[in-house]
Symmetry: C2
Subunit: 301 residues, 2 copies
């Protein structure tokens, strides 16, 4: 069965819009997100525009705070502190990458974890590890939501995570191995967490043998066709986080997007599988919206 | 081969003493640790006394700050903030448990991560996950040191961690799966990290089969005889973190300490194994000393 991330993302956006409309009817203010962008990278501008549009659709008030490329680290840090203490802002994100003269870790670490709706501060990551209330970064939160909406249980299952990045592999492994402390609002009854998790990466030996023992495989390695049919047992759930451009003269833009999974040959064996595009991808902006509303509820409680 | 934690701990204490003597000869001050204790639990008093003694042996200046059981959370929080900004203190710990009217998470989270020589703040845990310079909690740091001193490589090895506690299982899994960012001073050339890690717990199915595929098994489940000989392949490295009291009328105190491993039957199959007592246990205070000196070097740099 193909997991339709586009449909799930649309469902959630509709639910969030209804939730915010209800808040407004109760006389409460709308959640408010600030997006900090430095410089004029066309890619960053597009991402920010998409986020602003998604906020508008569900009723989150969103403001873009644009700064020149020449801004100093110190001035940007001051802006972060200002946003931390601005009571009208429920959450904010700093669009990455930043110019090379600014240390991204310094900036991200300065964000108050309660407003860190990208879930990238060390404080939020540590709170997640310790099972404390926290904000989860976009991709792991989106994958958890897909599993929940398709009622795919994880308790006692063997989950193999391929890739150990800070934004996907490591937080994903942590969430799935945990006791399910963090019950999400609007979530199905599926029990998430409590999985036996193996985390694999470039140094792993005999990846194929490990994958064949998995009930669920989450691939976030950034390597086209890494997961092939011979590595997957019948009935496995396959979540493909990869987004790779490969040349394709026949495609309108000269390239097409593929994941890390050999979809054509793996899909017939998989119980569930996410396509690329249209699987995990559409969930990431939705996670940002959910995180903003979560921060709003905490902030206005 | 039996891993002699007592011997390694003594070696490290001797190295640390030499290091501090050299600092003093250069005219620098000694590292300084503060230990906060609330109330009068005999167990806590003993732990604190042992820590003070260990500090004295290597030349770390240590002060005990004792507060009455009735101290309010707010007053204790004020003390934490004072210690955060006291420039003469390189690191401090708050002896747990705290009285029930004080929220431990609130207190621990308030400690500046640079002075958090127990490595328990969410900020330090998150920094560890993200591969940033951080302070590692005592048991994982001690185990890493044992592996390094015995030159047991972890790169590409399959490590099975049994137990997902905040103080052992989860940080241990994270350290071993990481790229080896965090090279320790005085450490052997053994490559630590870069392992394929499986984390198992009470919900894991067929633990025995998973353990039989392991090159290294780290057991931190708090369950006597959990790991039996049939679960261990020939040549496995076994690290036993368990400390369990079991009744033994023949023992002088009426009980004896055992680990989570059936040592008698597992040891003959293991390439290396830690005993209980005398394996991981003696390393934990040494880790506190190492963390204090690490914080000192960062603080006085």
């Amino acid at each position: 069965m193909i997991i339709d991330g586009k449909q799930i993302a649309a469902d959630i956006r509709r639910e969030l819009r209804a939730e915010i409309e209800a808040l407004l009817r109760e006389g409460r203010r709308a959640p408010k997100l600030a997006i900090v962008i430095v410089g004029h990278s066309p890619a960053s501008e597009t991402y920010v525009a998409n986020k602003l549009k998604a906020c508008a659709e569900v009723g989150i008030e969103a403001v873009k705070l644009a700064y020149p490329t020449e801004i100093t680290e110190q001035t940007l840090l001051t802006e972060v502190h200002r946003l931390n203490s601005d009571d009208s802002i429920d959450g904010f994100i700093v669009q990455l990458p930043l110019p090379p003269h600014i240390n991204e870790t310094t900036i991200l670490s300065a964000i108050d974890y309660r407003k860190d709706v990208d879930g990238l501060t060390p404080e939020n990551v540590g709170r997640t590890v310790q099972g404390l209330p926290s904000i989860i970064s976009a991709t792991p939160r989106g994958i958890r939501e897909l599993l929940a909406r398709y009622r795919i249980p994880t308790e006692g299952k063997h989950v193999v995570v391929i890739g150990r990045s800070n934004i996907v592999g490591k937080p994903m492994a942590i969430l799935l191995m945990q006791r399910p402390y963090l019950s999400l609002p609007n979530m199905s009854a599926a029990s998430l967490g409590d999985a036996t998790v193996t985390i694999c990466h470039s140094k792993t030996r005999d990846l194929a043998a490990i994958c064949r023992t998995a009930d669920i495989i989450i691939v976030a390695a950034g390597s086209p066709n890494l997961l092939t049919a011979d590595m997957v047992s019948e009935g496995t759930v396959v979540i493909d986080v990869g987004i790779n451009r490969i040349d394709d003269p026949a495609a309108p833009r000269g390239y097409r997007l593929v994941g890390d999974v050999d979809f054509e040959h793996v899909a017939p064996k998989a119980a569930y599988i996410t396509p690329v595009p249209g699987g995990v991808g559409p969930m990431t902006i939705v996670s940002l919206l959910q995180n903003t509303i979560q921060a709003y509820h905490e902030h206005t409680r």
